[in-house]
Symmetry: C2
Subunit: 377 residues, 2 copies
């Protein structure tokens, strides 16, 4: 009935090792199956939301009325409200053959938080809308919701509403996230200036390579159900694909250091694509250096093994949810103590274009491959 379990049952133990915050049963579909029709819409919503606790002082009223009520005016300073939304569709954005529902929920929430952090704000509330087809049981939906809630607990975000409905085909997840930022704190994409430094957090390409790995092993196991997926030594790549984190730690360190980036984005579509957005909106060019791109050794090993260019993975892979930002040269000294932060280049005049400087000094125009949603359809 559900084309998922076989894959995950086989490496549930390994998977749990890397996802230590998640309980054992999130790596597979639940054994018990309560048809959703048994609870009905209101019953399901009650089950999912009954013990939601509000943590944010700005959450006045959550689930249970026509709209959620938030109060962003009582913080003693002038605050602005940030809103972002993501729509995730089964078969387009995720494949339940190798994405456990709890992880999917976790990721669906975190990618929204990441957008709010990328505005230099703090996520405070989400609204969760789910479209669910008959092949999902109450326990499945609960697992998805548990993942969303785990992310919310971790990042101190409240679930304040949503919509739950049936679907004819597959699973639809739409999450809208609200957040706040001081009026003068918000960082847009359009503020990069010539000579600004270009910084990237963490490392790039690992999430994409994690996806390639999952896809490779899925095909192996389709051919031979008794095979064991070859994940050893590559757990970090799986974690990057299946349980990404939003870089609140960097936002906090930047604030403590007194740095306000001139432009910022999170890297969801790949560094090239995001950098081109910043350059276009800021009316500038850029130069980044191939040998400065931060790459994890597991990424490099798998790229080699799969005969892929690790630089292409780092530039165009996407789904890393790291932060890309530009800041003034004057902030250089302040940047040094910040953990897990890498200078990859600098902003140039617009005439220069958006360039990658190779290891031998050659200049290549950046290509925004990104997420070509409508090409793959």
């Amino acid at each position: 009935m559900f084309g998922v379990c076989f894959f995950f049952y086989n490496f549930a133990l390994k998977f749990d090792l890397i996802c230590h915050n998640m309980s054992t049963n999130d790596t597979s579909l639940s054994a018990s199956k309560t048809p959703i029709a048994e609870l009905g819409e209101f019953g399901l919503i009650k089950r999912l939301t009954q013990d939601i606790k509000l943590q944010q002082p700005s959450s006045i009223k959550g689930v249970g009325d026509d709209a959620a009520v938030l109060d962003f005016t009582k913080h003693g300073q002038e605050m602005q409200t940030l809103v972002t939304s993501d729509l995730l569709l089964e078969g387009i954005h995720f494949n339940l053959e190798y994405v456990p529902l709890k992880h999917l929920g976790y990721k669906a929430a975190v990618v929204n938080f990441s957008d709010i952090y990328a505005m230099n704000g703090t996520p405070t509330q989400i609204i969760v809308s789910l479209g669910i087809s008959k092949r999902f049981s109450v326990e499945d939906v609960q697992a998805l919701y548990d993942g969303i809630r785990l992310a919310c607990e971790h990042y101190h975000v409240d679930i304040v509403g949503g919509d739950t409905t049936s679907s004819l085909t597959g699973l639809t997840i739409s999450i809208t996230c609200m957040g706040v930022a001081g009026k003068d704190e918000v960082v847009y994409r359009n503020g990069a200036k010539v000579n600004d430094l270009i910084c990237v957090t963490g490392n790039l390409g690992a999430a994409y390579l994690g996806l390639q790995l999952l896809e490779r092993e899925r095909i192996v196991m389709q051919a031979n159900a008794k095979a064991t997926p070859a994940f050893e030594g590559k757990e970090y790549l799986l974690e990057r694909q299946l349980k990404p984190q939003a870089r609140v730690d960097i936002i906090q360190q930047l604030k403590q250091a007194g740095i306000k980036p001139t432009a910022m984005m999170d890297i969801s579509d790949g560094l090239s694509s995001e950098l081109m957005h910043i350059c276009k909106q800021s009316g500038v060019g850029c130069a980044i250096y191939e040998d400065k791109l931060p790459i994890d050794y597991q990424s490099a090993v798998l790229a080699e093994e799969m005969n892929m260019s690790i630089v292409t993975c780092a530039l165009n892979g996407g789904e890393d949810y790291e932060l890309l930002f530009t800041c003034s040269l004057d902030d250089y000294e302040k940047l040094i103590p910040i953990d897990d932060l890498y200078l990859v280049g600098h902003i140039t005049k617009p005439e220069y274009g958006t360039m990658l400087i190779g290891r031998n000094g050659e200049e290549l125009s950046l290509q925004a491959q990104g997420w070509q949603a409508f090409k793959e359809n």
Copy 2:
């Protein structure tokens, strides 16, 4: 390729008569067909959003960054933020065989505004996420978006963001609406008191009967493509189904009259279901009177013709998007001058239950049929 047009081509003229605000081409799929892949994701988003104008002073930054930026703090009084979201899936919430895309967009936006009005607030911004399959052309998506924009212009709401992605099957529309209300103005579902009056706006059951009519004629035309749909004298029912309005006029009149309802909801799932929500959340009972239910004569005629109970349609039909509210008996005199408002009963002690008093004085327990999303799946 698209199973829609045949139906609407046949009665486009009639349909335009009732939807006079919409241009002719919204009643059918566009003749020109640009594949979405030709524009790509970014091109499509640009096309849809390029001439969006922001009208609300609280909209600081709309489409084009990681999140929209809103400022609800500069209104000189303590404001609260309202947020609501609706997820609409093809085949569950709408049938494109008889719902023109422009109307669908209009309705998808208006039902969200209605939720904000039902909190006694004012809608200010929406975020629009669309999942679009290959069978839709750029012009189709533009028509959908045009409907959303028309609704936004009419209700002075800004489109400030969204997400556009491909879908494997059908059309997915997720709209999140933000709004504002003075801190002491927000009306919840849980404030109804014993002896409060129960008021309903407009009339009930027409939207449901409009849907029955469309469904009936669809079946007729499936059997005989040359048939002409029998809509004459029933245009109002179609308008109620295909182009609902949110009752901002009532909210304004209540404010002018100095009335703050004790509880309020919009009627999306049917009067019975909504009234039971209010009674449950307020810890009260209610009595409403069959002979007080406001019903349009076109509804009564079609119910008779289709051998349906008009009272059941009025109580359980849904999608009317009228307002249901309770208010203090002391406000009775102030209610009288308000247009299009009907007293249908009163709030009782909880022991009484939630009752319909029939024309002959018989008491019947209200049944919340509502929208049984997961039963029909």
